[in-house]
Symmetry: C3
Subunit: 484 residues, 3 copies
């Protein structure tokens, strides 16, 4: 990895980007939105093998292999075979962030000295496989090496958060692993698993969820439970951002129809949009930061869903809308200081047209970092250009990695820090920002804004003084590790 | 303010941008679309205080303060307190054009030597306050110092344009202040103020507006009146761009229902879309340039509307559409040389998809400059990239500042001239444009195209020879003014 | 034409772009999607005059003249008068790709030594006119000089492809001219020419097209005929991308209504969307690469259509959608290796939101090159940035010129190769791509990917070794040609 990667081409801007990046290069990682499994950290079992760590569970990787003609079945079997397929199709990833992240992991996390190709695939596999058997490559050791201060997971309201509690109780573990309350399973009364989910929730909350009012009460109880375990935020991944209250009697009627399996599509939508409004109400009441990730068309390819389940690479972006859908809720709660809404989009036209203008007026609205398909250097650069002029930097959320791929966390945060340094440098070179403001912002974006946005306690003492050298030193640490 | 601000980073491109900018740096300002009050210039009373000049009436400023958690109420009281709030939240504006414009005004217009912060806020306030009491900071003196040749205001058809007439009759006042005919109040028969507005218009035009035909006749009479006062253009700020004629009897029926307070929402929309078509017809007849600013969702936050009125920072961009909505009107009048339509958008996806393709075929269609949320360096750069390849430069309108903030006029035109110089330089460096063409275009965009687009008489003698040094010399002039 | 045109400003990136471009500068041209007339090549008659070659049939040129106030009637008469109009309005083309292409043709193809303006117009006209009378400027000679290896035309299924057969049979003609199957005329049973088109098709296929089943059978027969003449691809230019099967009885009912002239608008749409689905089915069966060009609003200005016919410059982009419209077809055939769908858009928001995400999962989906309004340097750069991070390079189609203007082929491919070299160089300079990967990709994008995407046999021997020096040497060859 070149030390100047992702920096501007212009020498003056590059020099400046280097300085700005140096300020945050070793700052602790705060990951307020991830899909890492807390149990993995609680158990601290070794990772199974290179393919299960780096390839098969990461739909960013598998979708591009699939797009190249590799059936997902071929990735599901022998891990070494899956790894060889990655190597065989490695050229397909040229220019993509997936390749950038994987190269970072290979070189910075595993100290792999050679390029990945079909000839080197086995040797690299063996090297990583051997490292994974060592204590230094257990989840907790990597967590520390990655310099993670806070990691927020994504959890169902019925989850007992046992893993989170074990981690919190373990004083040998220095990081913070916070749960995030994600109630998606309860939103659609026409979904096949809805009634069963209600049962689980009822058990967890000790409240009958046979009524809509019962569901709301159970959700409130579980939110309190999540907060007690350190949770500061919720997340909602909904088909659209409409939040529209309906009459309580209508909600009860649809709830009952859902339990009877006879809910109409229109009623199911009305129920879901009402429930989103109720979740916003709850956030007003309890101050949990509400992340909203609407507009993804899930499971576009039904044969793949049936064979490989959800999250298998065929979720696709839809057309985004926020300004109209959230109008009612923002009229009711948009200036209430207890509420905080962080809006994410996979349709980048919404950044300049909807999200930044909303965040530039409503104190409750924050601009979610570029997410999923947009979590890449060029897209991040477009994002900054699209929102800064309307809403500045302080209403942006700070980077979220949104990842299931544990070892990609440092790679993604490295990418984000470099991309922001490059953007700030470009503003300075055009005299749109002073050098001192740029330096302050570089730090703010990494060490202050993510904590504030997500209402997470900042680390003490001040981040940019106390932070030990982490990601930058990984390679050296790694080179002392046993190699294959 | 750095002399190279907004220029490209690459040294060769920067040098070229400098040369191109030097050609237009001191050219007179033509502002064919503003919200400056003509009465302010006619009366020439001193500005009240720094906050009322620079902060409170400017929704670009107040919306970002509001987004940062400052209730609008806190800005509405003591002006010094409002100023201190600006200083306190000054860091929130980092990277925004609002900060760029304000820094320009502080340094170039008021010669403020220090940075704005909480410590310096009072001293800066006092300095500006003292300057505002001097003759050099009266509206007319600033108008001359800003080098404004033409300023078009925005006016209701019922307005008697007394201030415009006083200015035109005053030979000591060298500028031109032209009215713009904006009939928005008459478009929606379901709006609460509609009947009262008709009464005012009836009085002004001496025509009964109790019928739709009467309204059309009154509008025609007032357009003639505006033209007689030098007006060359109209403006329409409509929810959407649909211009669809309906039967005269239907129009009369809806008109009557509007007066009776019983118009249906669908009828109100049909009436408005018909009236937009009638306004296009009138422009064909009388040659007034028709500006169309559709697609803004007005007054998104009703509590703020009720407390602070319109234009208080919560108008938001909607999804733009032009190609379908204007099809009927363009089929009827799209090649008529009397018509001129200037299309503006706050949804930038429309630039490459709709506005530039329309302007690249229809001789009547012009591309409005980036407006409102898009009136900023990066957005302007995207705009040029989005439209030039399809429609060139000559079908773009020239810069409009669209401002209520009088002292921001030189700041905004400075920004525009620099941004265009940077874009032209980037084309030259890529050998997509010759240096001589770039130089000609830099001048055209400032000194010819805005006059031609808006059918305003150009100044005599030729602009780029006769123009006295203005904006660039402001700081020196200011440094001779009494300081606090 | 400057040798560094379209390359990045930064010296290091420029140097790299030069090297990358040098790899492909002289590679043969593959043009898998054009509107060149095969008969022109078969007959090899001299071009009539400069205006008919360069101005009047090219709606890219005429639309900008029309937008500048030139009635299309004025271009339709005396060719020299049309040429003078081009010269007179030449400044209107500053900064557009149309000017870039024309300047390329004037200097590189015709060796014109002076700038085009009103004074030089006649001399340049005379020079080109004289050259067109020479053997070196006959269509076939230019075909060879342009280094065209493969040219795919666009043809109606009823076309007998006689010109293609003559070219294929003529061993003195070294190029390949392949037909493309475009069944647009048969899609809309409410269109006035539909029944007549069916008659032609019935004759060509020797199948009665009085039934829907007959139409499908005739299309299959003609597809086989096209394949036998070397055709590898089809094209569909439809109002939208919906591909939705309907019941065969409904299709027959609507077919009959179409023949009776009594089809309803809704039925016509359902029929067309079903037929698109059937064409996809046929591509699954016969492996013809299916190009889909939806979302163009045709003939926006009816008076111009009536007077000047279709393709007269007032087709306009509509809002694009692919993800929902193609869902059914992709669920049925999206992983079938026989199918290949190449998706084109004139609404560039679809690149990052729909096309790249689809191509990043479905092995059957390819990303069509920027097309029509987007076929220009800045738009191509935006395209690469929009799709690469999600789908890499290998799922992009390679450049298509889509042109009716024969002499613009080398200009357009030159532009594409330079723009891609610039983009690749920018990735290398930011250390997002290695130099060797960039070099491999530069070659792949020109010499491998277009062949693979369109299932065209690659030339033998390997492209980058055997290619003679072509476009770069044109000017020298031209300077030996008789000058005016």
């Amino acid at each position: 990895m070149h030390p100047d990667r992702l920096f501007p081409a212009d020498p003056a801007a590059r020099e400046l980007a280097r300085s700005l990046h140096a300020l945050v290069e070793h700052a602790p990682v705060v990951s307020p939105h991830s899909h890492v499994d807390a149990l993995m950290l609680a158990d601290d079992r070794p990772f199974a093998n290179p393919a299960e760590l780096l390839v098969t569970p990461d739909h960013y990787v598998t979708r591009l292999l699939h797009a190249s003609g590799v059936p997902l079945d071929e990735l599901a079997g022998d891990p070494r075979a899956a790894w060889r397929l990655l190597a065989r199709y490695w050229s397909r990833f040229r220019g993509t962030p997936v390749r950038y992240w994987l190269e970072f992991q290979l070189t910075q996390v595993f100290g792999v000295p050679q390029q990945l190709d079909e000839a080197s695939a086995d040797a690299i596999y063996d090297r990583i496989d051997a490292l994974l058997a060592t204590p230094a490559y257990r989840p907790r050791a990597l967590f520390e090496r990655f310099g993670i201060d806070v990691l927020a997971t994504t959890d169902d309201p019925a989850d007992d958060l046992a893993a989170h509690r074990r981690l919190a109780a373990d004083h040998a573990f220095p990081g913070r692993v916070l749960p995030t309350f994600r109630a998606d399973r309860y939103m659609d009364p026409s979904a096949s698993g809805w009634a069963a989910a209600l049962d689980e929730l009822a058990t967890a909350a000790a409240v009958d969820c046979g009524t809509h009012e019962g569901l709301l009460e159970a959700l409130r109880i579980r939110r309190a439970y999540f907060r007690a375990q350190g949770g500061t935020a919720t997340d909602s991944g909904v088909p659209d951002a409409w939040a529209s209250p309906i009459d309580a009697r209508d909600a009860e009627r649809i709830h009952a129809a859902g339990l009877a399996g006879s809910v109409s599509p229109a009623d199911a939508v009305a129920y879901r949009r009402d429930l989103l409004y109720r979740l916003i109400e709850m956030s007003v009441d309890d101050g949990m930061v509400m992340q909203l990730h609407p507009g993804v068309i899930r499971n576009h390819h039904r044969p793949t869903l049936l064979r490989h389940g959800p999250d298998s690479g065929h979720d696709l972006p839809g057309v985004a809308a926020f300004t109209d859908p959230l109008r009612r809720a923002l009229n009711d709660f948009g200036t209430d200081p207890r509420l905080r809404l962080v809006l994410f989009t996979v349709d980048e036209t919404a950044f300049s047209r909807e999200i930044a203008p909303l965040a530039g007026f409503y104190p409750t609205v924050f601009i979610g970092a570029p997410w999923w398909f947009l979590d890449a250097p060029s897209a991040i650069e477009r994002f900054r250009h699209a929102v800064t002029e309307t809403a500045g930097f302080e209403k942006t959320s700070g980077f979220i990695d949104d990842t299931r791929a544990f070892c990609s966390i440092p790679a993604r945060h490295d990418m984000s820090r470099r991309t922001d340094a490059a953007y700030l440098a470009s503003l300075v070179v055009a005299h749109r920002l002073s050098e001192s403001d740029a330096a302050a912002l570089a730090l703010d974006l990494v060490a202050r804004i993510p904590y504030e946005t997500f209402r997470i306690e900042p680390p003490a003492p001040p981040v940019h003084e106390a932070a030990p050298v982490r990601t930058g030193a990984m390679l050296e640490e790694v080179s002392c590790a046993p190699s294959s």
